[in-house]
């Protein structure tokens, strides 16, 4: 079992999904969020037309940039490392999450760090970095407001760009009251600015006193050995400006060649995520504090992480490495918005998670996830780097079958079906009977409310009845006519 699989709860997807569907507080939070995400993105994309641009043209360009680096990733990593080192940064490599933890703790100890402020990084969730730091006696403080909220709750983020999307205002108020040491008050949406200010004041003190800042990188720019960081809150700037040590923890697939390529991707990343034409803060960080500079880290370390990524290169799943972590796929997914992110059981939820979790934690450890899809392809159609997400989920399902990972009952049923389908006369006789049976089950309005042999199918929805005759019967009748 891989280190990543140890922490995955993806095998409990079905049980968790059931809980999430029955949780009214969660359902309220999700129903509120979905139309906002979808509407904002649609508006942002439509506005491209004002500048004679369009989604398809831009995403073709973005797809090409990402493919270009993946096709020669060994070369681009070499160039990035060379140029980052030339700016005075240190470049380290980590095979897996545990190695990330070891390296960061080592750096922290070497620099006498007791507290690290963190800007949101999904890779640090993969690595369970907060646990590793805490075990070593170093306090990790999440500073993205959403991450701060889930850290207080002792939870994992449920969305890659809106970590606390599953939390209602009442839940946040209870957490803040406890953490900030004051009685709980009744809060309405009019109080959200006050609550934000409260968190700002608490976190400001952490920004000023932490000796280490930890961030991810939205992109690594090979041209100059630069980390690109995109945030709205400004916490990304804080953790990379104030502490004396800055550690960038990021995946090896995040490289893009030039500033120009970065500019192209920036026309798609914020729009796909939140519909914004640009995020409030876009920082390009190169090396360390220069001579005469008033601020900036004296030490900058890149930790380039594999944790399963290299294995996707040259595989049927390579397209997945194009992902720029915008969250559009989950924002448009009917399954995600029925369950929220926690049901998926590991770091990444939604369609991209249903592909990445089995690939990074083992296909046998996330059997349900590739099936957690209606196949509607909304995810694929909004993806800014044109990842064929449904096709990849489909491929994972095939691999489950090829490796004999499907349950015996399913395999038996399919064998029985194959046996039957190989005997046309018997098949026709059986299907005629089956269609009559279904017609008999249906109510007058042509809908089946309780499916006899498999009542689970109709527990939450009706099944429309078949036409009354089999395809073979209809075909014959037509030929006669």
């Amino acid at each position: 079992m891989t280190a990543a699989a140890k922490h995955s709860q993806a095998m409990h997807f079905q049980a968790r999904a059931g809980e999430k569907v029955r949780n009214p507080v969660l359902q309220r939070a999700l129903q509120k969020a979905k139309p906002l995400f979808v509407g904002k993105r649609a508006k942002g994309m439509a506005a491209l037309a004002d500048d004679a641009l369009d989604f398809e043209t831009l995403r073709t360009a973005c797809e090409a940039i990402r493919n270009r680096t993946l096709a020669d990733l060994d070369v681009w990593l070499d160039i990035f490392e060379e140029r980052a080192k030339a700016t005075g940064a240190e470049v380290l490599w980590a095979r897996d999450g545990e190695e990330v933890g070891r390296l960061v703790v080592e750096i922290a100890r070497r620099h006498g760090v007791t507290k690290a402020t963190k800007s949101k990084s999904m890779l640090s969730e993969e690595a369970h970095l907060n646990e590793a730091l805490a075990e070593a006696g170093i306090r990790p403080v999440e500073t993205d407001l959403g991450e701060y909220i889930v850290q207080l709750a002792g939870e994992a983020p449920s969305h890659i760009i809106a970590p606390a999307v599953h939390k209602t205002i009442e839940e946040v108020e209870a957490l803040f009251a406890r953490e900030h040491g004051r009685p709980i008050e009744t809060r309405t949406s009019a109080d959200i600015p006050d609550m934000t200010r409260e968190a700002r004041e608490v976190l400001r003190q952490h920004f000023l006193t932490a000796e280490m800042g930890i961030s991810g990188a939205n992109f690594l720019i090979a041209e100059t050995g630069t980390a690109a960081l995109v945030t709205n809150e400004g916490n990304g700037r804080m953790v990379t400006t104030l502490p004396k040590v800055h550690v960038v923890v990021t995946g090896i697939e995040k490289i893009v060649p030039t500033f120009e390529d970065f500019a192209t991707l920036m026309r798609m990343l914020p729009r796909s995520a939140t519909g914004q034409s640009i995020s409030n803060y876009v920082s390009l960080l190169t090396g360390t504090k220069r001579e005469g500079d008033h601020d900036g880290p004296e030490k900058t370390v890149f930790i380039l992480v594999d944790n399963g990524r290299a294995g996707l290169l040259g595989s049927p799943y390579q397209d997945m490495l194009r992902c720029i972590r915008c969250g559009a796929c989950m924002n448009h997914c009917p399954v995600y918005f029925s369950l929220g992110g926690h049901a998926y059981g590991w770091v990444y939820p939604g369609p991209m998670g249903s592909v990445l979790t089995p690939l990074y934690t083992g296909i046998e450890n996330a059997l349900d996830l590739p099936h957690a899809s209606t196949g509607c392809n909304q995810c694929g159609s909004v993806c800014p780097v044109r990842i064929p997400l449904p096709r990849l989920m489909h491929r994972l399902r095939e691999e489950q079958v090829e490796r004999g990972l499907r349950p015996w009952s399913e395999r038996l049923a399919l064998k029985a079906w194959a046996w039957l389908a190989g005997r046309p006369a018997l098949y026709r006789w059986m299907t005629r009977r089956a269609v009559r049976y279904l017609n008999w089950l249906a109510d007058d309005d042509g809908r089946i409310r309780i499916l006899g042999m498999a009542p689970g199918w109709t527990a939450g929805r009706d099944l429309p009845v078949a036409s009354g005759r089999t395809f073979n019967e209809l075909y014959k009748a037509r030929k006669r006519a």
Binding site: N232, A263, G296, G314
Partner: protein, 216 residues
Amino acid sequence: MTARDTILGRVRQGVGKDDFAQRKAAAQGLLAARSRGPQPVLSGGLVDRFRVKAESLSSTVEAVPDLRAAPAAVARYVAAQHLPPEIVMTPDVASLEWAASGVRGVARAAHDVDRVGVTACFCAVAETGTLMLLSGPDSPATVSLLPETHIALVDTACIVATMEDAFALLRAERGEIPRAINFISGPSRTGDIEQTIVLGAHGPCRVHLILIGAPS
């Protein structure tokens, strides 16, 4: 085997190509070419576009005829917002006539207690209404970050169309990439509590732009 060798070995295997040196040379050629992706066609003038976009991102804008008028504009804004007339500024704007304007300014990196920060900017991007600030001895990054109010002086001659144009200007005017290039587009914001947008998450909650050399 080191982690580096293991990972690069796996990557090389996945990439499935030899001729590393040849491919590296090709990649370096690609870097030198700096080809651009699809470019926007901006209608109207750059200054108008910048202004409209900046305002749509919740920045406020005042136009003044020339740089000498900037300190008085800063003083007016500070008074109108009922802020104390004490500002921290980046050294690159310290040579302006602050004393006569009625604000007391000090040129240094910002501290937590500073309420108003005044900066220049290297250039501004019309496409998105964005400022481009470079860190350096004359422009500490904290001045646009720690105070609740950030006032930026934007020379209209320095407004370019796109981020790509801003990078081209940077390469032309500076030999070296600074430690931090900060693109700033309005006040800091968050939507993390019930998707309600709040200005002033961790950075400034007010961004005021003084457009220099524009008709008001």
